[in-house]
Amino acid sequence: MLRAMFLKEWLKLRWALLGLLLVHVAMLAYLFLSVRHQFQVEHSEMIWYWSFELRRLLYDQVMLLPALTGAVTAVAQFGPEMVGGRFRLSLHLPVRGDLLVWSWVAVGAGVGAVLAVLDAAGLYGIIALFFPREAAASAVLTALPWLLGGWVAYFGTTLVLLEPAMRQRVVYLMLGLAFLGLLYLQRGYQEYDRILPALAALSLLFVPAVILPAHRYRHRS
């Protein structure tokens, strides 16, 4: 049964996943070329000065990539379910509705996690090619709020798509955007280090929350 559920998610996600994978690889390639280009046209001391004295980020091109990935993944997964009310087909399956929805978001979050690991590894590798390892580790820590933004964008979009009532849909949209805004408020190095665990814990509330719109969809009155 679990395999069948994964089969459906795979069928919905495969082309989006391929597209996202290409975009992520292309963005990492662009980041590599961009950093290399900087080192070719500027002195190393100048880049060091920009990066660590003026604290200018060299890799903010990938900042919005996780959020975009989260939103695209959610649309690819839940768009086909909601068009024409096909969600009813799934809710009629002889499976508990909450487990069904959680299995879907597990797949979506898993896809996001794989791409996030790719981003983090790529970022670490690219920065480590030009800077000391401490700078590469710092780049990953700096990018963690952006990666959390992918999680927030995924669940926020999921809630908006699953929700049958327009008013709640707007509320979910506002909450999602506000959370994302919080994660993109600061643009320096590791500025979220102390608050990030709390924000990550808060974002876990999305997991039980996805059951609510599914329940409302099932029992609209």
């Binding site: 089969l7 024409g84 399956l93």
Partner: protein, 311 residues
């Protein structure tokens, strides 16, 4: 006499000893301030094929949604296979084959993929029934459902429901978008399937004529929630149509004995459950200006329109 009361009086319950597959008691539902039903009650005994008939907007699809738990009723109760409809257990859902309006299916799946997807959910899955039906489409198994015509999709969806081997089928407007050939094919397969016995079907359709050879009982649902349920054979035997002439005075109106009057056709017709003798007696007393003519033969569709009106 109030028309709802008239219909209530004509209600005949099917076998009282049959265990109901569907039981609706004092159901009330409304959208905002618009009431769809205020006190709807009926039951569908196990092993019967029951058609829910009514004009557009009387709440047929709403009723199906209530029965499947996609809407929570404002009042009353719906039980399906013994469980409250808004809280069906997965095991009970496995026993219900549900056809959604418009032959809803996962368009992004192919013929083979959708069978592979549904198979593990149903312990009594009968793969051969699915492929027996879809093989007639002569399409490759990797053909996407989204690229099929409405008729082709209907065969896939019906095949999936058959393969599920459900005890109860709820078919919401199976005829939507189907031409005569696909409708007939759908019905032929459904009848063959029902020949296995012990299957209950609750069906809605706009093509009333199709019900003639399919159903055991009919439920007529009218705007406001008035309802009449009886075996089809009894309805066909008792419900009659007569030509009439009005010699001065106003034409007759539904009044408890007269169920419907049609003044739009070339010949004026009235419809009643009463015998010709009783109707003549009633007309002489209540509508003395009306001269009753010959009884007219009716198709089921004629009878449906006679009972529910043309608009």
């Amino acid at each position: 006499m109030d028309r709802a009361v008239t219909l209530e009086a004509a209600r005949v319950r099917p076998e009282a000893d049959g265990t109901p597959a569907i039981e609706v008691r004092h159901l009330a539902h409304r959208y905002g301030s618009r009431s769809i039903y205020s006190d709807l009650s009926f039951s569908v005994p196990e092993g019967r094929v029951v058609a829910l008939l009514g004009k557009n907007g009387v709440g047929k699809t709403t009723l199906i949604r209530l029965l499947m738990g996609y809407l929570r009723p404002v009042g009353g109760a719906c039980r399906v296979l013994g469980e409250p409809s808004h809280n069906l257990s997965p095991a009970t859902r496995a026993r219900i084959g549900l056809l959604f309006e418009g032959h809803l299916a996962y368009d992004f799946m192919s013929i083979a993929e959708i069978e592979r997807f549904y198979r593990p959910f149903y312990p009594r899955w009968r793969r051969e029934l699915y492929y027996d039906l879809v093989d007639r489409l002569q399409l490759p198994y990797d053909h996407k459902i989204g690229n099929m015509s409405c008729g082709q999709r209907s065969q896939v969806v019906l095949g999936l429901i058959f393969a599920q081997d459900p005890d109860l089928m709820i078919l919401d407007d199976y005829s939507m978008g189907l031409d005569a050939g696909y409708r007939r094919l759908f019905l032929d397969y459904l009848k063959r399937y029902l020949d296995q016995g012990d299957k209950t079907v609750f069906v809605t359709s706009h093509v009333v004529q199709d019900m003639e050879s399919l159903v055991d009982d009919v439920i007529f649902l009218q705007r406001g929630g008035a309802l009449m349920q009886m075996p089809l054979a009894e309805f066909r035997a008792r419900f009659r149509s007569f030509g009439f002439r009005s010699e001065g005075g106003e034409p007759p109106r539904p009044d408890g004995v007269i169920e419907g009057v049609d003044l739009h056709g070339r010949e004026h017709l009235l419809y009643s459950f009463a015998t010709p003798e009783r109707l003549a007696e009633h007309l002489a007393r209540a509508w003395p200006g009306v001269r009753l003519g010959e009884e007219r033969p009716m198709t089921l569709e004629d009878a449906f329109i006679g009972l529910t009106g043309k608009y």
